[in-house]
């Protein structure tokens, strides 16, 4: 019976290309609002001011120091928050899954992570200004407890590399928690028992069994975090008002007005971002396949 329900050839005659009409609206939408805008940027980056084909914009991308600096700053911030958020998120996910904390803490952490990973943009920036800004709560707390004025006695500045990284961490490590908690659940009890029966210590179990199994999934998630930070615009703009020259902010300035005095270079900058994002997504999906060998 189930077999016949799966293959009801009589009531659903296969009629080839006509079936594609059913998904035509979706493709039309995707072409109009996703493919065409992206293609426009790609074409723009290979066009000079007279509308002729050129590689000059792409070459100039690698010669303009300000642009290279912007990419490099974005990459550093994204990598720092991906690795930092990744490690911290993993440890948190570990502590509520196999780490032996009470069950209610787990659901509390998962719920909070769901909220925090979606809490971004302007409100997040304002929250961090109230926390670590010049008159922020934690700034005052540190001054009172340790007698250290963050802004006068140290190099710290919320509107700099470290400040933006700390702010990004607020949505980065919760995302890691959300991805890693199910992966840690996927570690089979039998593996641990088998390892223990063979005389393995806890450290040996983690370094020889659990960690290698989890590694592709950890690395893949970190790549996801990297992309998450790399494409971020609103949080950085609200926090620094456009003063910190990460690549998204430079592109934003180019959209508002042709600050580079070469529209083609602006398109090339945008395309460079898409290339970085595409490489990370490919890396992610490759690692995802690796991790599916053991964890489901």
């Amino acid at each position: 019976m189930a077999q016949t329900a799966l293959k009801p050839k009589s009531s659903f005659p296969a009629s080839g290309w006509k079936n594609w009409i059913g998904v035509a609206p979706f493709f039309l939408f995707a072409i109009l609002f996703l493919v065409l805008p992206s293609l426009r940027l790609v074409m723009g980056s290979f066009t000079d001011s007279d509308g002729r084909f050129t590689f000059a914009n792409i070459l100039q991308l690698f010669q303009e120091q300000a642009i290279l600096d912007a990419y490099w700053l974005s990459i550093r911030i994204s990598a720092a928050t991906a690795v930092g958020g990744g490690i911290f998120g993993f440890l948190l996910a570990y502590s509520v899954t196999v780490g032996g904390l009470p069950k209610p803490l787990r659901s509390a952490l998962i719920t909070f992570s769901g909220v925090a990973s979606n809490f971004a943009g302007v409100p997040l920036a304002f929250a961090f200004i109230a926390t670590l800004g010049r008159t922020g709560f934690v700034t005052a707390l540190i001054k009172e407890l340790f007698g250290v004025n963050l802004y006068q006695q140290t190099d710290f500045d919320l509107y700099s590399f470290w400040g933006l990284s700390l702010t990004y961490m607020y949505f980065q490590f919760p995302l890691m928690v959300l991805i890693m908690a199910p992966a840690l659940d996927g570690l089979k009890r039998e593996w641990r028992e088998a390892a223990e029966n063979l005389g393995a210590s806890t450290f040996q179990y983690w370094s020889k069994v659990a960690f290698p199994v989890l590694l592709p999934s950890i690395l893949g998630s970190m790549i996801l975090l990297f992309g998450n930070a790399f494409g971020a615009y609103a949080t950085a703009y609200a926090l620094t008002g456009g003063r910190l020259g990460i690549i998204t902010i430079q592109i934003g300035a180019q959209i508002r007005g042709d600050v580079l005095h070469n529209p083609g270079l602006g398109y090339a900058m945008a395309m460079g971002m898409v290339v970085v994002m595409a490489i990370s997504l490919m890396g992610y999906s490759w690692l995802q396949k690796q991790s599916e060998r053991w964890l489901r």
């Binding site: 059913g22 805008p37 997040l124 929250a127 615009y233 609200a238 602006g266 945008a270 994002m277």
Partner: protein, 277 residues
């Protein structure tokens, strides 16, 4: 000895990381609330909240953003549900390409998307190779800009909405339901509206709430397309006020929490995540 062994059983490092995480979560929230309650000197009060909510521009932009969110959700459902349904029923060979498209928004971040959208739709659209104008540039009139921004939001929400809907359809037997409805004489429209939609309502709701969380506070598309939405309003308010933005930030946090809480309630599963950071 007994007490000692009990102490040893306490997973010290687990607690350490958990408490550290809890502090990271809570301190910025506490700081924001604390700040927002101190608008009047030496008094703890809700003055900043009253001021913020009294501003007519707040209500206007907030309602406008809610309208955008609602229309985005409706448009995504109209676009995605029939597509996912059709792929399951008749066109499994389209699955890979459609899934690929729904992942593209991860590669094209909001700032790049809006760059492309502005460049394409700020000039009149002509039929290729002719000089005939199909319609006015979308960015030059209000309805056109609204269409553009809603389309942009549908794109941003595409990965989450598609995955929700597809997961929802996996749990119902689409084929049998369709056959049953067809044998009773239902049209395609009736089948989708009255058979498929009610069966995946939990998945739809979770996708819708996630889309809502993305759209209501969104800044990038809204500010570059110049629409009077809540995100840009909050940003501008922050440029020349101190306490009201803190109050509204905390209110947005509560709203995000409400949306995520509802998702958990309806799906009972792991939290989901989206975001336009």
């Amino acid at each position: 000895m007994n007490i000692l062994s009990k102490i040893r059983q306490i997973p010290f490092w687990s607690w350490f990381w958990f408490i550290l995480g809890a502090l990271y979560f809570l301190l910025p929230l506490y700081a924001t609330v604390n700040f927002s309650l101190r608008m009047e000197r030496d008094v703890i009060g809700f003055k900043a909240y009253i001021r913020a909510f009294e501003d007519p521009e707040f209500l206007e932009t907030f309602l406008y953003s809610n309208m955008l969110a609602f229309l985005t959700i409706v448009a995504s459902i109209i676009l995605i549900v029939p597509t996912a349904y059709w792929i399951r029923l008749r066109l499994p060979e389209a699955r890979r390409i459609v899934e690929f498209i729904t992942l593209l928004p991860f590669v094209v971040p909001a700032i790049i998307l809006v760059f492309g959208l502005i460049r394409i739709y700020s000039s009149p659209i002509t039929i290729p190779f002719t000089e005939i104008n199909l319609f006015q540039p979308l960015t030059t009139f209000e309805v056109g800009t609204d269409i553009l921004i809603i389309a942009g939001y549908v794109v941003l929400g595409l990965p989450y909405m598609y995955r929700s809907v597809d997961t929802g359809m996996r749990t119902v037997d689409v084929r049998t339901l369709t056959e049953a409805a067809q044998s009773l004489g239902a049209s395609w429209f009736t089948i989708i509206l009255r058979v498929i939609l009610p069966n995946i309502r939990a998945a739809l709701l979770s996708g819708a709430l996630l889309t809502f969380a993305i759209v209501v506070g969104e800044v990038t598309l809204a500010s570059f397309l110049g629409v009077p939405a809540f995100g840009p309003y909050l940003f501008l308010l922050g440029q020349h006020r101190a306490y009201e933005p803190a109050a509204l930030s905390f209110a947005s946090f509560l709203m995000t929490w409400l949306a995520m809480g509802l998702i958990q309630m309806f799906t009972g599963g792991q939290g989901q995540t989206a975001g336009t950071h």
